[in-house]
């Protein structure tokens, strides 16, 4: 899928978030990575299982389609598998993996933008309804009302529509910040860019969203 991220993997990244640092340094993950680098497939699959829920969540939120998220999952972990030998413990495994995922997502988003006919339907706002029967039933509770449910879905639709005006990088930065709670510095590491550039993307994204959502802000 698109450009090979192998070359820029394992670059020296001196700063890490506390959580990811401790995770990387935990003996268990360290030895799993070492074993995976030595060709132990089981060790690699264990690493996958530790991180794949979050990877799929990120892919799903960025791609807005389960099919595309599935492709991103597949491509990302295959790239990680092929390139794990180049991982040099200079950043956390999580950061390294997310860098691959975001590269794969960016490639896919750019391809999709160049082919508007491939636009995927937005998850969560499908009028035909996703999930099973029980999920589709309205919650009847003392503090819930049809007006409130309708309001929530309308707001969700407006936000999804506003997100479409963002460039792939702006949307990625905004979602990684506000949907996944990542620090800007960590996002910079994952995207292989500076914190300054990430801030710039966040400002642009915020400005565009404010303009698009002016009626409800």
């Amino acid at each position: 899928m698109g450009r090979d991220v192998g070359l820029d993997m394992g670059l020296a990244i001196p700063l890490e978030t506390g959580a990811s640092k401790s995770a990387t340094k935990s003996g268990e993950e360290f030895s799993l990575i070492r074993n995976a680098q030595a060709g132990d497939r089981m060790a690699f699959e264990e690493l996958v299982r530790r991180h794949d829920r979050e990877v799929l969540r990120l892919a799903q939120s960025l791609m807005r389609s389960p099919e595309d998220a599935r492709d991103v999952y597949q491509e990302s972990f295959l790239r990680a598998y092929r390139n794990i030998g180049r991982f040099r413990f200079e950043c956390s495994f999580y950061t390294w993996l997310y860098r691959i995922v975001t590269n794969v997502c960016l490639d896919a988003m750019r391809r999709r933008m160049s082919r508007p006919e491939d636009q995927a339907p937005v998850i969560g706002h499908d009028v035909t309804g996703g999930g099973d029967f029980f999920d589709r039933q309205p919650q009847i509770s003392a503090d819930a009302s049809p007006e409130k449910n309708l309001l929530g879905s309308e707001i969700g639709e407006q936000i999804a529509a506003a997100m479409k005006h963002l460039s792939p990088r702006e949307r990625m930065v905004f979602e990684m910040k506000h949907h996944h709670g990542l620090r800007l510095r960590a996002i910079g590491e994952m995207l292989g860019t500076t914190e300054e550039t990430v801030k710039n993307s966040l400002f642009r994204a915020t400005r565009k969203l404010r303009a698009s959502l002016v009626e409800i802000l």
Binding site: R41, Q74, D143, H178, L202, T206
Partner: protein
């Protein structure tokens, strides 16, 4: 304007400044970072100080915070277990193909690629021999063995993996299928575990492994779809006499996000020997559940417990009933709460006047 407020970016793009200049222009960046939670305490103080004295920046800050609040409506949920299982399966297949590809590459290096083109029979024979030798000699474990070992002595149909002592810990449940059986005979259940190759636990709920797999669904409800949770509750109903199943049902009743699953747990607990745990779960449901249908069933079950001789005596518990009698939005729940309180008072020799407030 405090002098500490300076542009955060070395060269902020002019189009980002909304035509503002000076302190308010610099403040634009600070406001975005403030709303994003990226400023430290002293920087937040600076922003708060500035917005107290600058109406336009205060309005912008309000808009920023409102935007962040709105965006929370669109926060993605965790991917569902089925999608994850599909992804894992596909990825595992890809790894298999990659590894097969490596063998072919090595063989090409050893024997030259032309050999494969011109002598397909030799190539095929070579691959078979290599595969046979590797299969016989290499100390590899099968995936099933790694999961916990295949127990050939289990009373399950041949060829079906029965898992380790706790399948739920080895891998997640991807799907449950079962067929209704005759009266008084537990149905035969098939639990498919999420893994790279089909792994199935099969039997009736009287089999401990099947029970463990279903229990793991109830104990980790957030990881599973409501239909899987609903089926697990339904299938475990006959085993509610077991402490662990009863506790899991109480957990479902207190924490499951889906009202249909909570109702099914209530149904499963009905008729089970009264325990303090069940009583507490019912009272908590009565007090906290947002779904009136679930509260109705909870109060019915509480009535059943009281009638079967399990009194509600603790002052806090009685207070829950009083609150429910006074404030529950559902008329039936208020009436039944009052009725239980009257029964309790009759039993203790104290008269009580029923006065629901709505």
């Amino acid at each position: 304007m405090n002098q500490k407020i300076q542009p955060l970016m070395a060269n902020p793009p002019a189009d980002l400044l909304d035509g503002m200049s000076g302190a308010c222009g610099a403040m634009q960046e600070w406001l975005v970072l403030y709303a994003a939670g990226e400023l430290d305490e002293s920087e937040r103080g600076e922003v708060q100080g500035h917005t107290r004295s600058c109406i336009s920046c205060a309005a912008l800050l309000e808009a920023e915070e409102r935007l962040v609040e709105l965006v929370e409506w669109a926060v993605p949920e965790m991917p569902d277990a089925n999608l994850l299982a599909i992804c894992r399966g596909r990825f595992s297949d890809s790894l298999d193909r990659q590894e097969q590809g490596r063998w072919v590459k090595w063989l090409k290096v050893l024997f030259g690629s032309s050999a494969f083109g011109w002598r397909p029979a030799v190539t095929a024979a070579l691959l078979i021999i290599v595969g046979f030798v590797a299969g016989r000699m290499a100390p590899w474990q099968t995936y099933r063995e790694r999961l916990g070992g295949v127990d050939d002595h289990m009373q399950f149909p041949a060829g079906i993996y029965t898992g380790s002592s706790s399948p739920g810990q080895a891998s997640d449940v991807a799907a449950i299928t079962w067929a209704p059986a005759e009266d008084n005979v537990p149905p035969n259940v098939q639990v498919r575990l999420e893994s790279k190759e089909p792994v199935i636990v099969q039997g009736t709920v009287n089999d401990e492994k099947v029970k463990d797999a279903l229990l793991s669904v109830l104990q980790n409800g957030a990881d599973y779809q409501p239909d899987v949770r609903l089926q697990s509750v339904e299938l475990l109903k006959p085993r509610c006499g077991d402490d662990d199943v009863r506790q899991a049902m109480c957990l479902v009743l207190r924490t499951d996000s889906n009202p249909a699953v909570r109702l099914k747990a209530l149904e499963a607990l009905r008729g089970v020997r009264a325990t303090p745990g069940i009583q507490q779960a019912l009272l908590q449901t009565l007090r906290e559940d947002s779904n009136p249908g679930v509260r109705v069933e909870a109060i019915n079950s509480l009535m059943g417990l009281v009638n079967s001789g399990a009194p509600i005596a603790a002052p806090d518990d009685v207070q829950i009933l009083r609150d429910s009698m006074r404030t529950d939005s559902n008329n039936y729940v208020r009436l039944q709460s009052a009725a239980i309180l009257q029964d309790l008072n009759h039993a203790s020799g104290t008269a009580v006047a029923y006065k629901p407030e709505r």
